[in-house]
């Protein structure tokens, strides 16, 4: 989802720790090493990586192009291919029939069938284009905050994994407990009470 859209969904994060080493170079390297790989014409089902905010289908992190004002701005791209099960079934049955007639066998073993199915899925996966999904993010390094423009569970999980792998930093998702623990400025005593809280009944 683009952060420039008229309506957006937002998940907020706290970035734990700071980059060790030169900041811009380290971020640039993390982005370059984990740039999205195109899987059209490949037999891969999924590809996850960073891409440019301005040009999501032409990633380029040269020249600090991802720095705008005091933010790092780039996007997570997830490309997926999903061959419909009915198409797989059709090609699978055709391949079984072809194998039976070419070998003169009456039936195929379970292993042979599994192998044929895998070949069929690989062949079909290679022929279909991937569906891309792009999710923008806004990282305020100084404030240790990151705004991710999606609420989708899968997209958030991919972000957390890739971010850790790319920059060796952890993202803490800001939900009620973590917001109270890390962002509300509570004292140690207040945090002790927080840990022991249980739901309050508005009924009795």
């Amino acid at each position: 989802m683009s952060m420039l859209s008229s309506t957006v969904s937002v998940t907020r994060y706290l970035v734990e720790d700071k980059i060790k080493g030169p900041l811009i170079e380290t971020i640039t390297q993390g982005l370059k090493k984990n740039t999205i790989t195109d899987i059209d014409n490949e037999d891969m089902e999924k590809s996850v990586g960073w891409t440019s905010f301005n040009e999501p289908f032409k990633p380029d992190f040269e020249g600090s192009s991802f720095i705008i004002d005091n933010f790092f701005v780039f996007s997570l791209r997830i490309d997926r291919k999903k061959v419909p099960s009915k198409i797989i079934q059709k090609h699978y049955l055709q391949a079984i029939s072809k194998r039976l007639s070419s070998t003169g066998k009456q039936y195929l073993s379970r292993n042979e069938k599994a192998e044929i199915k895998e070949d069929v899925i690989q062949r079909l996966t290679k022929t279909i284009p991937a569906t891309p999904n792009v999710y923008d993010l806004l990282w305020n390094y100084e404030a240790s905050s990151l705004t991710f423009f999606s609420n989708q569970k899968a997209a958030n999980e991919e972000l957390e994994t890739l971010f850790g792998k790319s920059f060796e930093l952890s993202l803490i998702r800001l939900f009620p407990y973590t917001t109270a623990e890390f962002a509300a400025g509570l004292t140690d005593d207040q945090r002790d009470v927080l840990g022991k809280l249980s739901p309050f009944s508005f009924m009795e």
Partner: protein, 174 residues
């Protein structure tokens, strides 16, 4: 700190209580909202509120929507033990106005509409628009954070059980 996924589930109720407190505060304590933003003009329940009632392992979801939605129905659900899980809000500060839905368990924002910004007609406009929007996101996040801090500070104090919690109960059961 406890495991994040455990914390998410164990303390979901804090988000539901925050939304209930927010609703109560909107209806009854504008001064407190002004403490979080001295330029606040309005802060109102928008066109949707979702409540959930869990009884005997069955979950009943009550969705009240529409611009003229009667919130009495929501209060009735609260009386029966429901919690507020999602709330649509309209916030105006000075000349600027935001519309958004806040989800209790995650504090995620959805259907977020910012105040109008300049048009993006060329590639060069993008950078300016982005900076402008980033500042508008920050203004809203700061406001929500101040409200949440206000709530959680009361929630972990004795003032909750003896004061604010009782006042919310009375408001619900009136």
């Amino acid at each position: 700190m406890i495991d994040v996924s455990v914390a998410y589930n164990r303390y979901k109720f804090l988000g539901y209580e925050f939304l209930t407190w927010l609703w109560y505060t909107i209806e009854n304590d504008f001064d407190l909202l002004q403490k979080s933003d001295d330029k606040i003009v309005t802060f109102e329940i928008g066109n949707r509120i979702v409540l959930e009632n869990r009884r005997n392992d069955a979950v009943e979801t009550i969705t009240i929507k529409g611009d003229d939605a009667g919130l009495e129905e929501g209060l009735l659900a609260l009386k029966k033990g429901a919690v507020v899980t999602e709330i649509n809000l309209a916030y105006k500060s000075g000349e600027l106005e935001w519309f958004f839905t806040l989800k209790g368990e995650s504090l995620n924002l959805s259907n977020l509409k910012l105040p109008a910004t300049g048009p993006v007609e060329t590639k060069d406009d993008i950078e300016g628009a982005l900076i402008e929007k980033a500042s508008l996101y920050d203004m809203l996040f700061d406001f929500i954070d101040r409200l949440f801090t206000e709530f959680i500070t009361i929630r972990v104090s004795d003032d909750w059980k003896k004061g604010v919690g009782i006042q919310i109960k009375s408001w619900i059961l009136r």
